[in-house]
Symmetry: C2
Subunit: 251 residues, 2 copies
């Protein structure tokens, strides 16, 4: 826990927060702080800084957060992800690292090869998603939640809902391009400068032709995933990693 994150509604009018659970026990048992000590804290989608411990036991932590101020949070490179909904076991491990990497938007979509029951999982409950995202933000010392949205119609998402800002490079992991086709890096490099990146990653088994064509119609360019078949969570994380690298140093 590099940054203790508080929900806005946990703060009272006197700028005090009272929390229990993992956060209290972490401060008491791992950080071993006592009343009067300072620790790195932030408010979700709000300021961060140093909070003062007013009272702490393993069950209960009282913080004075009056000194938290708006200040720059760690850099985000401007990456949006359009991801065919993975199976719950894979999906649940993806929220924290994506938040940690500073992805701006995660659009989870239906696709021909997505099983319908994937949408029924508790892993998509807003409270579960938020908890995992906060875990990733806390690791990265960030306070700003990525936006996560769920789209049951792929066609409506791509044709109507998907807003692509000017200056965005849009790419599409294409499992048909094993060793042929351009790498992500060459697609990025050869497309000229860009401020933002939209990355689409398909389901296990890949996009069907209709889906691929719809994405290409919105300007997404395919890149090869390579000869080794990666699970979709690993493919996502590596694509975001390469994308961050490109946006932070385009040459």
């Amino acid at each position: 826990m590099n940054l203790l994150l508080l929900e806005p509604e946990e703060i009272d009018r006197e700028a005090r927060a009272v929390v229990g659970g993992a956060r209290a026990s972490h401060v008491a048992s791992v950080l071993r702080l006592a009343a009067g000590d300072l620790l790195a804290a932030g408010i979700v989608d709000g300021p961060r800084g140093r909070a003062r411990v007013v009272e702490v036991t393993r069950e209960r932590l009282v913080l004075d957060v009056s000194e938290l101020r708006e200040q720059p949070t760690p850099a985000r490179q401007g990456i949006d992800l359009l991801l065919a909904l993975p199976r719950p076991k894979v999906l649940k491990r993806l929220f924290a690292p994506l938040a940690c990497l500073g992805v701006d938007r995660v659009m989870l979509t239906n696709a021909a090869r997505v099983e319908r029951f994937y949408f029924d999982t508790h892993v998509l409950d807003p409270s579960f998603v938020r908890e995992r995202l906060i875990e990733g933000l806390s690791q990265a010392r960030d306070t700003r939640l990525p936006r996560v949205s769920i789209h049951r119609s792929f066609r409506r998402l791509v044709e109507d809902e998907l807003a692509i800002e000017a200056g965005t490079r849009s790419v599409l992991a294409d499992e048909r391009l094993a060793e042929a086709g351009p790498s992500l890096r060459s697609v990025l490099r050869d497309g000229g400068p860009a401020d933002r990146l939209l990355i689409a990653v398909g389901p296990e088994g890949g996009w069907v032709d209709f889906e691929r064509q719809l994405l290409e119609g919105r300007g997404l360019v395919g890149f090869r995933l390579g000869e080794r078949t990666l699970r979709s969570d690993l493919a996502c994380l590596l694509a975001v990693g390469l994308g961050r690298d490109f946006l932070s140093e385009p040459s």
Copy 2:
């Protein structure tokens, strides 16, 4: 399961393998194969190809593997990882993706900021490690196990045991270099061509000076990890991803 992997000792003299558990139930219930069908199979550190189903129920699968032949397995780029032993919860999730990415060697080492009890975990049991590695190989359709070794003395590892082949670029994730210092990509690009890569990733809290100096003494060059603090498993996977990208297309 993109490739069903068999242990050499599971094959009898008539080139038959009898297996149960997850592999049998996967073939019966997910792939829904029947006697006479072919499926992608391989032998750990051996050949791969098509095996014929002789008999299958959810509990028991009999395969004829007489047609498996030595054939090229998916490309590996020649990456070795020197990793300060992470805590068990983090470590156990790392073996499968590292095998999936085709890492050649994983050297798990002690360091000043590694807790001693990390070495006592069942996650380091050879059978547990092997099972997780095979899961990753199976995903990538590979048969060749990465070599995993455990080093209780960092100094002995770096001074005596660490063999660095000619043509290897050696780099060191350095958490002191937040936004200053070169990126991994610029370290790779500016160092000229290389056939292989050795990547060192430190413990939570980073290497101590003595360790960093020892690694630099063996020619490892530091790269920045960036302003967002990544958990060591994510840092590893992204560094391997960038390394693969560089080795496959150095320009």
